[in-house]
Structure formats: C-alpha cells, structure tokens
Symmetry: C2
Subunit: 298 residues, 2 copies
Amino acid sequence: MSMFPEAVIIREVGPRDGLQNESKILPTEDKVAWIDLLSGAGLSYIEVSSFVNPRWIPPLADASEVFRNIRRVNEITYAALVPNSSGLERALAADVDEVVLFLSASESHNRKNLNRSIVESLHDCREVSHHALAAGLPVRAYISTTFGCPYEGRVPVDISLSIAETLLEAGIYEISFADTIGVANPLQVSQFLDRALDVVGQDSMALHFHDTRGTGLANVLTGLEYGVFKFDSAVGGLGGCPYAPGAAGNIATEDLLYMLHGMDIHTGINYDRLMDSAVFIRDQYNERHLPSHALQAT
Amino acid sequence: MSMFPEAVIIREVGPRDGLQNESKILPTEDKVAWIDLLSGAGLSYIEVSSFVNPRWIPPLADASEVFRNIRRVNEITYAALVPNSSGLERALAADVDEVVLFLSASESHNRKNLNRSIVESLHDCREVSHHALAAGLPVRAYISTTFGCPYEGRVPVDISLSIAETLLEAGIYEISFADTIGVANPLQVSQFLDRALDVVGQDSMALHFHDTRGTGLANVLTGLEYGVFKFDSAVGGLGGCPYAPGAAGNIATEDLLYMLHGMDIHTGINYDRLMDSAVFIRDQYNERHLPSHALQAT
C-alpha cells in the first residue's frame, strides 16, 4: 500500500538517553564494553554520553572517560549531548564526532530541564552550534516534548516548527522531534508530518519516540509512510527523562530492527549482534525489567 | 493521509485467551468480578471462557460456573470458545450468546493444539457450526498461526484464505486471523490484507495480534488503513498460547484504546473504567509483570 524507505538510519541513544535516567549508575568500564558491543553490531551512529554538568546527571558524569576508552570504528559517528559552551569545551576535548543540542517545545519543560526560557535556550543553541561548526563538527538537535508535555499537555506544532526553522538556519543539519513522554499516536504524527515536512525536509528530519503507551512502533510506521528514514532508539528500551514524570523507555532498537528487517527495510545492523548488546545491558540491570519486547521473546 | 474507520469494535478476549495460559488459576469469583467490571466499561463483546475439555486447559475448567454467575448486560455478547460437539453441548447449557471455533493455518500447530489434521478440524468446525446455527447462535472462528507458526515459520496466505472460505460457506459470520506467536510486521499484514479482503470482506474480518515483539499496534494501524474495524485484545495484555512457545500476551485493550481514542476513532468503551478492570486483574497477578503499557504508564 504505502511506499516505505528502502533504508533507515538508526540513531542509537541508549548510552545517553538510556542510561541518564537509570538510578543504578553503570561503571565506566561496563559502559565502554557495551558501546564497543554496539559498535560491533553495525550501528552507524551512537550517542555516547552527555557533557551536561555532572551534578545534574550523575549517571553520565564520566563522559570524558567513556570517550577516551571506547574503541572507535571509523565509519561510526560517536556523538555527545552538549547543553552549553562549557559542555562544548569538554566535548571538544573528548574529541566527539558530533554535537547534539537540546531544548523543549514547551516552556515549562524547558525551564525544568534547562532552567531557562525557550528563547534563551535558542540563543544558547545558536552560540554553541556556531562554535561547534567552527570546530568542524556537525550539529544535531532535539526538540523535546514536541508531541506532548507532562506539564502543558499538547504542544502546538507551530512552536516546534518555529524552533526547528531557527535551528536549521543556525546550520544544524538534523532535528530530532521527540515524544519525550511517549504520548503520541499515529494520527498525531501524521498531522505533525503533514506540516513539518514543508519546513524540515526528510533529510533533516528524525523522529524520537518513547514506547510508554505501546504506540512507539505504530508511530514509526506512520513516519515511514511519510518517507521519514531517521529514527532514534535505545537498545533494551532503556531511557526516559528525569524531568518528565511517567516517561518510560525509548523504543527498543531491537524491536525497531525486528519490524524494519521484517519489512525488508535495510539498516546495516546485524540483528543477532545487536541482541547480544541488549542481553549485555539487561544483565547489568538484572533487577529491573527492561521494556524491550524482543528481549522477552528470546 | 489514510482514511481510518470512524468506529472500531473490540473483541475482549482477556477472560479466555488471557487466562488460559496463566499458571496461576484465578478463583471463579474473581473471574466473575473481573468480567462484571469489563461489562461495566462499555465493551460490546467479551469472550468469557472456553468449553474445551477441562483436562486440557485447567484454568478455564469453571466455564459453566462463570457463565452462571456473571451479571449479563443485554447489549453485550458473551461468547465462548468451543472445540467440538461435546463442548457445544456444555456451551448451550450455559446459555452462551455466541460460539467461537478455532483451528490453525499450520498443520503441526493444529495437531499440537487440537490433535487432528486441519482437514479434520474443518470438518468438526462445519459440524459444530451447523448445530450452533441451528440453535440460533452466531458463530465466529479463529484461524491461528495465520502470520506464523512456532514449528513451521511463515504460513502461506493461501492456506488461511482457503480455510476462511470454507468457514464462511458454513455460515460463520466472522473470521479472526490470529498472529498467535506475535511475529507479524506491518508489511506482512499489508500483503495479507491485499489478498484477504477479496475473500473475506471488512464485515467478516477481524485481526488478532499479540505484542510479543512490539509490533502489535503497528499491525493494528495497518489494518485500520485497510478499513478493518474489528480487533481482538485482552485487558492487561494477558495471554499467549500453551502450545506456542515464546508467545507473549495479546495486545492490551487499554493500549489499543489509548491509540484509537487518540486517533478520534470511536469504540464505545470508557477508558477510565476499562483501566479499573486492568488494575483489578493486575492485582490478581501481582507477582507477574503484565505486558500492558498503559498500566505501567499510570
């Protein structure tokens, strides 16, 4: 019926979005071992860590050390979240391949998460991206709460798109529109894309879904039907947001792969090796039930 | 983009498909209390139990007693699974509103599940439906393993459709094509419907997905895009199949509702009251992690 993209690019966000919300802090050597497993699975993109102030997100305080110790594969982009100029300095020192910025589409979530207004955050994003681009690094950005805010509910599409336009003008090459709290449904995604693709073409568009209410892959399917070919996911279905109550994990990379490969959509990722990395991380969190479906089906 | 049905009919299969695979046997009075809660939530159809030989499925051995004790609402269809003529006798004695037959699209699963060949099962189905129709009861049927068999893998669409034709000719009004082990993906569902809707029109078509690999609601979405408007689901995401290793639960009714209502598709079901019934059944299985997403998000 619909035409789907022939290939999809997966942005693996488990080591950052996945681990940042876990109460158990993973030892650095386990993170490094896990990321090396992810590299071996054929992923082309891994969001390795975050250079936010370690006091904010203690589970990712070892970002520099993780970057120093992972075994880098040439073809893989090892990216890092960066909140501001001092974060960028640390990121540059760690020799990251790509800088990822973030802000929210809703004022209250942005204030909780970044302690400033959206306009102030946009100013910061422009400044940081300017320096990152000057240093030769590509810059990507998240717009959190695009599909709903834990404090404000539905967020007007106009706001996300206006933020996106500003970011693209600043030279940011890709915007990941995030359903931070996992409330989106396929009709909403469809209505969003009806408008968003006029502002942000497929090449600059990524979608970031959480599977909080079981609609994660249905939302991806809607994206595919619109020709979107870049999706964020986290091995194990890890993740959430410390400032978004009730947010469950990202869609699990292995679930996404299962669906895409079953639909004859190419990803370049080896499913079995990716599952090995999922089993590895499950074993680190053996007291917590990870939301990945594929992990439970094996 | 796509046109979705304005309204969807949900076949609640939790009390039968959900409970039959649980190792903990729910006391009859708890089943009755649960089904009464389901009736109060606005469901129009509840598959209450199964009149298979109690030795096969001990958790449902009390089918007659459950039917005797539930508080029936006039507009609701209280259906029961029936494997053969002696099961039908018990079902008629229990005054069921509708008879549900079942067989598999794959020979080996049918033998494991029913101890006979598909052709023998088709003969039984015709015989039982003949008697049920003569007694004035509508008859529905499952074709299990339509989208995959734990022993044979992919099952040719032709086989399911040939079985469906025979069942429709026997006066069965609705066929539920079941992804018993939860392997289907949206492309497969789309390819199935491309052919199946010529044989089984929307009015006689139901889809029955399990969420074993996270694709449950994505598969539903594909069905909706084809105008399918009848779906099976189980509150709590309970369920599975005792003869299908690795089969996880049905799609959770509350997850399905969340998606449908979010898409402005009418179901007649009260989400909050349905969630109450989900919380009730979760409390009965408090040591087992139910797969429902919505239950974890609340």
